[in-house]
Symmetry: C2
Subunit: 392 residues, 2 copies
């Protein structure tokens, strides 16, 4: 356990402490549920014979990236150079920055990190989607005082509408540009469809990924015709991974949220082949004010992200359900919609399932890992969020 | 400047650095604009002869709380015990926890902090809205190994619909309960109307605060009849402070956002008497990907809060305006709605005005303070966000 001297982030939980004594609000990981999620994902990847490189933008903990590797994951994905640096400092040596990096100051750090990881027997990969980006990356790699190389994935837009070049010839042109630089190794295609993850209907997600698979396959074939073999197509998230895994074209799954499962992913219509991932990240909260109309708890949107919906109140029977409404930065409002339900009284502890894990984890310096369940378990470990606030 | 060894939060800005070299995304404070906002607020409070105790839940920096005190502010408000501890560690000695605290473990910390501040010649205040809360607070104060007291404000709900008892007799009963405990000093009424701050129309805000003033005055009068003088009525935010200041009943303004001014507050229809607060907090961002349809920048909702709307792209002439759309945790999408406007190219720096300052600041370990304007200025100071992530 790493104690922080900073009073603002001082942990009010200790190893061996009973769950009911953890002060609120607090991010708590059900380690048993998390371990089951890892096992389900490992089994799934083995069955489909695909690599998995879970996205560490979700959990941001070097300890968890290493834990996933021990269970078969092949390295970690990140979105930011500073996330890669934080994981590397924590012992992770196989890292893919699945995003475009443009600033020369950052690319110099990329080149240094590539060298550091190579010395440790690991490797660094990065995504590109422009000639400008490739040129700048090559310059940074050549300016570095080392002969380390970097794996380069060409990002194609398979329906996300964000970064990436269009599939087909634009991607071929970029891949050819990559091969012009000695330090850049063309590693394949990045074909992640983020928007598809959150389509609620199973059929919608299936159709979206069918289109992504067509685009990825056509691009791979065009590259082959141009004389460029494609070592790997990488992509997929927790919402769609069954389709990428069965596609025959994706060789690597980047899904990260399966580890903690959030309320948003759980709202998707279930795909039968999808492993039954469980919620493993919760916000423990406490009622601090009570009226006839509503109760107020101490977890607001400084405790959990609200970009993908408000949290849900967990572990209550349907006829006692509580509805969480936004009460601002530091408060949540609790309402009952059932006449039988009673509002919780002052001091009552409740558990929230966050709408979206990734930005929720980013709000916290540590996650409190509990073994033995949330009703009667104890604190087993404190997980440091190494890449919290890692933006550059 | 405090350097952090943690690679994730390593600062990629240094004192004396030119603004254009600050790496992105980065939270940047225009110190000249901030200083003008402080002067405007100090002049306003002096003219209306009211105290001002700016809410530090917004800036979370002990250095800024002290800066405000030097300009006439009377201490700082916070929402959390850990925020109070962080400010106290940074030298602030007059702190009001304007929120209900219920957990015995936290109340023990409250009692310790009350003692620490008293020793340093300062004082601690706290809000209550239940008999249970008063009893628990009194027990914690009496269990502490000191004779320090604490100022206690009874929170009344003047339209917010969150914490607080109803105005009138329920508040009288609580104030009487406070006076039953030797260590608790009844300090007055907390009558903050948070919802009113964000009503867009000036007339709507005026009417909402007129009702709040009636409720606060009726409660004060009922307390006087019961033999309890009311030393202070405290409340008001940046959206409504002109009305509380002119009310004759509010003696203290808690407004905090005026310091940085966010896009949400700037969207309010301006009240003529309102000081002309300027935007002083910006997110510097950079274009990392470009297509015919849109550009993508490196600031997503891990860089800025989106609870009160998306950020706005600053400093562009109307015919070159860019519209920011949510691109997820780490990306922003930029669109042009004008046929004349051109999408920015890769590497272009842009400035975003966050929708809501408070949770935006909470995402960052440091704020980069710039002197001399955002076009040609230099980094003058790094402001440590002492109470970042202070939730308990």
């Amino acid at each position: 356990m790493k104690n922080m001297p900073d009073p603002a982030t001082a942990l009010h939980a200790t190893i061996g402490q009973r769950v009911d004594l953890i002060d609120t609000p607090a991010p708590v990981v059900d380690l048993d549920a998390m371990d089951r999620n890892i096992q389900r994902m490992a089994d799934f990847a083995r069955k489909h014979q695909v690599r998995w490189r879970p996205h560490a933008k979700m959990h941001k903990c070097a300890e968890l990236a290493l834990r996933l590797q021990q269970s078969g994951a092949g390295g970690a994905c990140v979105q930011k150079v500073s996330e890669a640096e934080a994981l590397a400092a924590g012992g992770v040596t196989d890292i893919y920055i699945s995003n475009e990096v443009i600033a020369p100051a950052k690319l110099a750090r990329v080149a240094r990190l590539a060298q550091q990881l190579a010395v440790r027997g690991g490797r660094l990969a990065i995504a590109v989607d422009s000639l400008e980006g490739i040129t700048r990356l090559a310059e940074a790699m050549e300016s570095a005082m080392s002969d380390a190389g970097i794996d380069v994935f060409v990002e194609i837009d398979v329906g996300q509408g964000r970064c990436g070049v269009l599939p087909g010839e634009p991607a071929v042109a970029l891949a050819q540009a990559v091969t012009q630089h000695a330090r850049l190794h063309f590693a394949g295609l990045h074909a992640y469809h983020g928007r598809a993850q959150h389509l609620r209907g199973a059929a919608e997600r299936r159709e979206a990924i069918a289109v992504a698979v067509l685009a990825a396959r056509a691009t791979r074939d065009a590259l082959l015709v141009a004389g460029l073999p494609v070592p790997l197509v990488t992509g997929a998230g927790t919402g769609t991974l069954v389709h990428e895994a069965a596609s025959g074209i994706y060789g690597e799954l980047q899904a990260g949220s399966f580890l903690f499962m959030d309320a948003d992913y759980a709202s998707n219509e279930r795909e039968p082949a999808q492993p039954a991932f469980e919620h493993a990240l919760f916000i423990k909260t406490q009622v601090i004010s009570c009226r006839d109309t509503h109760a107020v708890c101490d977890a607001g949107h400084k405790s959990h992200a609200i970009d993908s919906g408000l949290p849900q109140v967990a572990f209550l029977p349907p006829d006692r359900a509580l509805r969480y409404a936004n009460g601002g930065d530091e408060h949540g409002l609790l309402f009952t919609d059932s006449p039988k339900a009673r509002l919780p009284s002052i001091g009552r502890m409740l558990w929230l399932i966050p709408g979206h894990c990734d930005p929720t984890v980013n709000l916290h310096g540590h996650l409190i890992g509990v073994r033995g369940g949330l009703a009667h378990g104890v604190v087993e470990r404190i997980l440091r969020v190494d890449a919290r606030g890692a933006l550059t």
